[in-house]
Amino acid sequence: MRVTFCTDLDKNVVVANCEKRGWIQVGPEDDWNIYWAGTLTCRSLFSVDSGYRMNDNQIINHFPNHYEISRKDLLVKNIKRYRRDLEKEGNVLAERGDSKYLHLDFIPVTFVLPADYNMFVEEYRKAPQSTWIMKPCGRSQGSGIFLINKLSKLKRWSREANKNPLQPQLAKESYVISRYIDNPLLIGGKKFDLRLYVLVTSFRPLKAYQFRLGFCRFCTVKYDSSVAELDNMYVHLTNVSVQKHGEEYNALHGGKLSVQNLRLHLESTRGKEVTERLFDQISWLIIHSLKAVQPVIATDRHCFECYGYDIIIDNKLKPWLIEVNASPSLTSTTANDRILKHKLLDNIFNIVVPPSGYPDVRWNKIVSTEALGDFELLIDEDILNHGNHDDTASLDRHSNRSANFYRWK
């Protein structure tokens, strides 16, 4: 049986990977086995009016309501609810100290505007010196983002947004406002964030894999937290889509340093223990962000999804979750970037397609170590629940690590 694939992206990396496997490209109306689609295509496919029903040999690269994790406001809402629920249960994970969550304090304090305006003001007053970052809930690539350090600036902005007759949508658009992490870890004096990839093949039970080969995205201008530079996005926003317009942008390295090299640098300068702790905390926050949306994501055995996690490390080596992208960029800016993204796609297909080589949603989705490639198992609740350790990817360090994550349960 020949495998067929369909895609609405003109990304060479997708097509090349599929063709390499001997899969045949077909149109959306044809009989496809694997659909690599943009989120919009996906949503219309899943919508009731489309009337499309997938059969057991079809898989697709998004969950129908992925926005529960990828929209900035919904992610925050879900994490807040997750923490509250755990707290109600009396779960130690939700333990607090000094009013902060001890183990689940991994997103900057965030409010949705205009809905939570009053709550924001209350929080703002506690520390009027601090800087906040405004981000439109539904946009990406750094668009529409700005920093504020005074309430008056926010008020002025909201007045203007309401007044502007040319852009009435501005008034309707909702924003998140988050505490700005003003003490990011710097290397060579520059701010960066991490782009990590996480593959989820099922939410209930949760099955997630983390890709080892992420990268750091560097700003092109030295970090400077002074007010004068508050509006300089080349200092504050790490998005490549922002930085590449900078005068200092270098297309040969694209401002991207591999995560392995970051790790080498941190281990060499700060020591192994703190570096390990940092990376364990990153895996920890990824798992809990996924568990936070687990109850609300529609279960659909046809779906898998690869998320692009944006994470900032502060100068105390604490990682902060900034956002989760459901369609991380597959565009390559440099040669190494191309290699990485090819590997990413290749490894994803290795995991989502059963050993038979033919997509089948009845498969138990337990992946052998060989098929993992550069992915590492983050969590597989099937394995956790059944203690089924043999012959699976959870061998070695990871079984310990996952066990550690659940030592409180």
């Binding site: 060579g188 004096g189 520059k190 392995q260 090299n261 060499s268 192994k272 993992l372 360090r397």
Partner: protein, 517 residues
């Protein structure tokens, strides 16, 4: 007989003492000993015993021992294996330097600039302001070209006509076989790198996808041992420790210990003086340095984050007269008069004060160290120590067993003996294999291997106090890719086969090469 021996020990001790006193850290050490002597632990009645006991206890003994160790290492730097060709190589090196100087001068006259001048105030102020972000220092380097590239230097080496040189027909010089220097053979290398050839567990074997639990346990064990080594503060023990490769978290300390490049307050002052010199004088090498960083580290996704600190340390490096002083066989240097000044001794400057003229890729001798250090001064002194012990021999003509010529010869002999088929393939397609690997050797693989792997290789350089692992690795890489190499016949395709070294696992490949089947 005994008497003579006694006497010579006595002489050595005297020389040692004299030299130690010249050491910048001597004053601190001496003060510490004085303090100790005046403490109640040291008794007048039992002076010698009680002093040496308390020195042991508070670590001064280790420090003194390390000083002796570094002194001894600095003594046998000049052991030329072939004294008879010494003068030949010296002459060749002088000629090469003359060529470099000439090309510097002609670049200057082409561009209408001077080798050295007092820095304009405005320029100085900009430098001061941008010292932390020198990649943004506004200077036009477009017109500057690297003085020479590894390729040019290889040409010079290949054209050396040794004392035994016989013209061999039409073919242009193909290899170094006419240079009559003996290099180690495989079994001698096995003896030198005996820890590797015995196939014991070493660091850097975790390149298989999964961090196996046995490797994690091994690494933990190595770290525990390494921490004790660091605590003991004994340089020779640290050197021994490096033979199995160093866990990244201990490398900075281990390397500093072996090289004796710990920084004290005096080093900060010294570095500050170098910086002042940079601010005061506008030297033409500054542009060459900046140009080289722009051409290399700034464009490299492994090193771009370090471009600013590289500017700082390499500019300071050029001003460091200690480098010129410590180089055995001082390079020929230029004396230049500051622009617009009368030619008096006060206005005359050794150009550059370090005597080192950078070539294309010089930055890569320093870049990998940036992974280890946050502090630019500590970074500087380790880079300098490494340069003075190893790297300087990679860009000069000399017959030293650690020099570039011997390393090239070693490469050729090893390839010939390991894989005659591949050697003949190169011969058949008229491409000297050394041409393919020369840049790896001249840069000690910096910029070619990913930093993690590169640093393991450099662990071995320090551990065995030898660069011979470098040509050995070059041979092994060729052999690993032999099937693909045998399939291609043009230089371009050969280079394509060898372009990507990201999958090379240094330690296991060297181990494989050295182990007896």
């Amino acid at each position: 007989m005994e008497e003579i021996k006694d006497k010579s020990i006595h002489h050595t001790a005297l020389r040692l003492c004299e030299d130690l006193k010249q050491n910048p850290t001597y004053k601190g050490l001496y003060t510490d000993v004085q303090k100790l002597v005046s403490s109640s632990n040291v008794k007048y009645e039992d002076f010698k015993e009680s002093l040496s006991k308390s020195m042991k206890e508070n670590g001064l003994e280790a420090e003194l021992r390390n000083n002796v160790y570094h002194w001894v290492r600095s003594q046998n730097k000049d052991n030329l294996c072939y004294a008879s060709f010494d003068s030949f190589f010296k002459k060749a090196q002088i000629q090469w330097e003359k060529r470099i100087h000439k090309s510097l001068n002609s670049m200057c006259s082409e561009l209408g600039i001077h080798l050295a001048r007092i820095r304009f105030t405005q320029d100085r102020e900009e430098l001061i302001e941008k010292w932390g972000e020198l990649s943004n220092y506004d200077v036009d380097i477009n017109k500057y070209r690297p003085v020479y590239s590894p390729k040019d230097f290889l040409e010079v080496l290949l054209n050396l006509k040794g004392p035994n040189y016989k013209h061999r027909g039409e073919e242009p010089t193909w290899d170094f076989s006419h240079i009559p220097i003996k290099v180690k053979d495989l079994s001698e290398l096995r003896t030198l790198y005996s820890e590797l050839s015995h196939g014991e567990a070493v660091m850097g074997m975790n390149t298989s996808r999964y961090m196996s639990s046995s490797y994690a346990a091994f690494e933990a064990e190595r770290i525990a041992l390494g921490e004790r080594v660091v605590l003991s503060n004994h340089a020779p023990v640290a050197q021994e420790y490096l033979k199995k490769g160093c866990p990244p978290c201990l490398r900075k300390k281990m390397w500093t210990l072996v090289l004796g490049s710990e920084v004290k307050e005096t080093h900060y002052h010294y570095y500050e003086k170098l910086k002042t010199h940079v601010l005061q004088y506008d030297l033409m090498v500054d542009k060459l340095i900046i140009k080289d960083i722009h051409l290399t580290a700034s464009n490299d996704d492994q090193y771009f984050v370090f471009e600013d600190v590289l500017h700082q340390i390499l500019l300071c490096f050029s001003r460091d007269a200690e480098i010129l002083k410590q180089l055995s066989n001082k390079p020929g240097y230029m004396q230049v008069v500051l622009k617009g000044k009368p030619s008096t001794p006060e206005n005359t400057l050794i150009f550059p004060p370090s005597g080192v003229i950078p070539f294309h890729g010089f930055t890569m001798y320093a870049a990998p160290f940036c992974y280890l250090f946050d502090d630019s001064v500590a970074l500087y002194f380790t880079v300098r120590a490494f340069y003075l012990r190893y790297w300087f021999r990679l860009h000069r003509v000399c017959g030293h067993s650690q020099g570039i010529l011997c390393l090239c010869l070693l490469f050729e002999r090893l390839l010939q003996c390991y894989d005659p088929v591949l050697w003949h393939h190169f011969k058949k397609i008229h491409i000297p294999p050394i041409r393919v690997v020369f840049k790896w050797i001249m840069r000690a693989f910096s910029g070619h291997l990913p930093p993690e792997q590169l640093l393991y290789l450099w662990d071995l350089v320090l551990a065995y106090d030898s660069l011979e692992a470098i040509p050995l690795l070059a041979v092994v890489i060729l052999i690993f890719r032999r099937d693909n190499l045998l399939r291609v016949t043009t230089l371009q395709n050969i280079e394509a086969v060898l372009a990507d070294l990201s999958s090379i696992a240094v330690m296991s490949m060297l181990q494989m090469a050295l182990s007896k089947e």
